[in-house]
């Protein structure tokens, strides 16, 4: 499969973030066209394209838009989720910094289609300070040209967009956590139902979409649903950005039709693992996705194939781990992340993630106890699970379930390595520990 340049078409041009470059490449034609269509026609077009949300869950975008009630008592809102904090994911940052007008154009179309009130928000993670300044500049350009503000493109539709910065909380990428944060609260997810489409931000119906999802919308309006479906396979359509990182020679963001296999992506396009090393494991969809072994990489990177394989596409953050990586340490590091980022609201997640971190830490340091692997299973099944649906749903959002993904998959698939740590009180020969244990107390 050859790489494509669709979402990334403009990014290498000088001043790619400027409106002139974007207009030069045919920008804002889709928004102008969309505003002459009926909102329902746009929603139908997006449904026909089979576009699925690029933030992680892969929910059909057109269906989401059609859930928004007409004539709700409170204003309807469109929110862009630019909180990109899933470890291994850095695609939205590229679009924000290098092609912000594609996102803005997508927001104009989506806002019109769902009947949004005249204010939309881009919730961007606080650490993306540069990205927020790029967006502010791009929004100012769009306002100046009359693409935002009163009577967008001379139509009766009014829209402005505000950049709202987060302040360092992974949980605000969860849509109701994001909504709480935008309202000025601690970003703790809400009880669902009601779902945001009925009662979301400021009490109104709300649609929350990932940056890349919104960036696909102008492409669909311009080129049609069939064109969009010509990339990928049925139900897994469109151009897709894949983020590749870890122990790999050429990390970065790659664009392919949805469904390139993991093997092809890593070995044909990213140069494989460093010289003299062997692939050990791959996390295919950001830190929440269960690990795959080196034998399981002939799977297409799409929503349904990865789910069938017991993992998930998530945010398409592919983390490559070679045979020098101690998998217990890798699992510990992700468990530490989830323990840190658990919002503290639901007991299974708040307590369980900390216990997973504690037990993995002691196994990694050589203090593992004989029953520790079983302890991890027990704790994980009490937090939730991304794989075994019977275990999931013990907390309000998916963070707890997600936290068990990489940990439990590594325990299941690399149990020998855990046993080795417990028996020999050291890492497997040939793997290296990254934390210096004399510093570890301070970490």
């Amino acid at each position: 499969m050859e790489p494509i340049r669709i979402l990334t078409a403009n990014i290498d041009k000088p001043n790619s973030a400027s409106i002139d470059v974007y207009l030069g490449a045919g920008g804002y034609k889709a928004a102008e066209k969309a505003l002459t269509m009926k909102p329902e026609e746009i929603t139908q077009l997006v449904k026909d394209s089979e576009l699925r949300g690029r933030g992680g869950a892969g929910f059909p975008t057109g269906a989401k838009w059609s859930f928004v009630p007409k004539n709700a008592p409170k204003p309807t809102y469109l929110l862009c989720n630019a909180d990109e904090s899933e470890p291994g994911t850095f695609k939205d940052r590229l679009l924000i910094e290098r092609n912000p007008h594609l996102l803005i154009e997508g927001m104009i179309i989506a806002a019109y289609a769902i009947g949004s009130c005249p204010m939309s928000y881009i919730y961007i993670r606080g650490e993306f300070h540069y990205g927020s300044t790029v967006l502010e500049a791009a929004l100012a350009e769009a306002r100046q040209r009359g693409y935002l503000g009163k009577h967008v493109f001379g139509s009766g539709f009014d829209l402005d967009i505000t950049v709202a910065r987060g302040a360092g909380a992974y949980i605000c990428g969860e849509e109701t956590g994001l909504i709480e944060s935008l309202e000025g609260h601690r970003g703790q997810p809400r009880v669902k139902p009601p779902f945001p489409a009925i009662i979301g931000v400021f009490g109104g119906p709300t649609v929350v979409q990932n940056v890349e999802t919104l960036a696909c919308v102008p492409l669909i309006v311009n080129n049609g649903a069939d064109w969009f479906k010509s990339f990928g396979t049925p139900k897994n359509t469109g151009p897709k950005l894949y983020c590749v990182s870890g122990t790999v020679r050429k990390p970065g963001v790659y664009e392919f039709p949805m469904g390139i296999t993991i093997r092809e992506l890593i070995f044909d396009h990213c140069g494989g693992v460093p010289e003299g090393r062997k692939l050990k494991a791959v996390i295919p969809g950001g830190a929440s996705a269960p690990m795959l072994t080196a034998d399981e990489i002939d799977i297409p990177l799409n929503f349904d194939a990865l789910m069938k394989a017991g993992s998930m596409l998530g945010s398409a953050g592919i983390i490559v781990l070679d045979d020098s990586v101690c998998l217990v340490e890798a699992a510990w590091r992700l468990a530490k992340f989830f323990a840190h980022e658990s919002c503290g609201q639901c007991t299974p997640c708040r307590e369980g993630t900390n216990w997973m971190e504690t037990i993995l830490d002691r196994i990694e340091r050589g203090g593992g106890r004989p029953g520790d692997v079983d302890n991890l299973y027990d704790i994980a099944s009490n937090i939730g699970s991304v794989v075994d649906l019977k275990d999931s749903g013990k907390s309000l959002c998916a963070l707890g379930d997600a936290a068990t993904g990489p940990v439990m998959s590594s325990v299941r698939k690399f149990r020998d390595e855990y046993q080795y740590h417990i028996e020999h009180k050291s890492c497997l020969p040939g793997t290296r520990r990254n934390r210096r244990l004399d510093m570890a107390a301070a970490h």
Binding site: G126, R165, S245, P251, L321, V325, R436, A442
Partner: protein, 176 residues
């Protein structure tokens, strides 16, 4: 008496000093007024107002908590609850350069802990601490969304990507 945890909200220095007075300077006040126009209610302006306050004062002191609360008609407890929930609001003063080293998985396997340990050793500080001259604070942070250019070090608002021990040394030199 046992030492109080630094984040303990009941520690004596978590209460505002009645003698100290904080107020946005005119330019910041203007930006604050603009923020209010972008949201349907004043509570929603809390996060951006705290970002603004941190830009002005460098950290969110107890005085700032009370001041921001008074501006937005929120209780200090509500404001403090938000401040303490989010990582980026400094609850203690930080150095002129806040060196934040990502050690999450993609950075870790590209030797981020070597960088983190090196920076701490070089500056002679414990993780999370500030140098006595107030120039540097070093903290370990979670994923910064720059995994393709790991390891990454954020200094104040700026990302420094593809770092290694030599490059971080050169960076610290430049920050003097």
């Amino acid at each position: 008496m046992a030492e109080l945890h630094p984040d303990n909200p009941y520690a004596p220095d978590r209460f505002p000093d009645p003698k100290s007075h904080v107020e946005f300077p005119p330019e910041a006040r203007q930006r604050f007024e603009h923020i209010l126009t972008r949201y349907p209610n004043s509570e929603a302006a809390l996060l951006p107002t705290l970002h603004l306050a941190q830009e002005v004062w460098g950290w969110i002191s107890p005085e700032v908590v009370h001041y921001v609360g008074s501006l937005l008609d929120l209780s200090p407890a509500t404001v403090f609850g938000v401040v303490s929930f989010y990582n980026m609001y400094n609850q203690r003063p930080v150095g002129k350069y806040h060196v934040q080293v990502c050690t999450n998985l993609s950075c870790m396997v590209n030797r981020a802990y070597d960088i983190y340990d090196h920076v701490c050793a070089k500056l002679g500080v414990n993780p999370g601490a500030t140098t006595p001259d107030g120039r540097y604070t070093v903290t370990e942070v979670e994923c910064l969304g720059s995994c393709g250019t790991a390891p990454v070090v954020q200094v104040n608002n700026d990302y420094h990507e593809n770092m290694d021990v030599q490059k971080v040394d050169a960076l610290l030199q430049r920050l003097k």
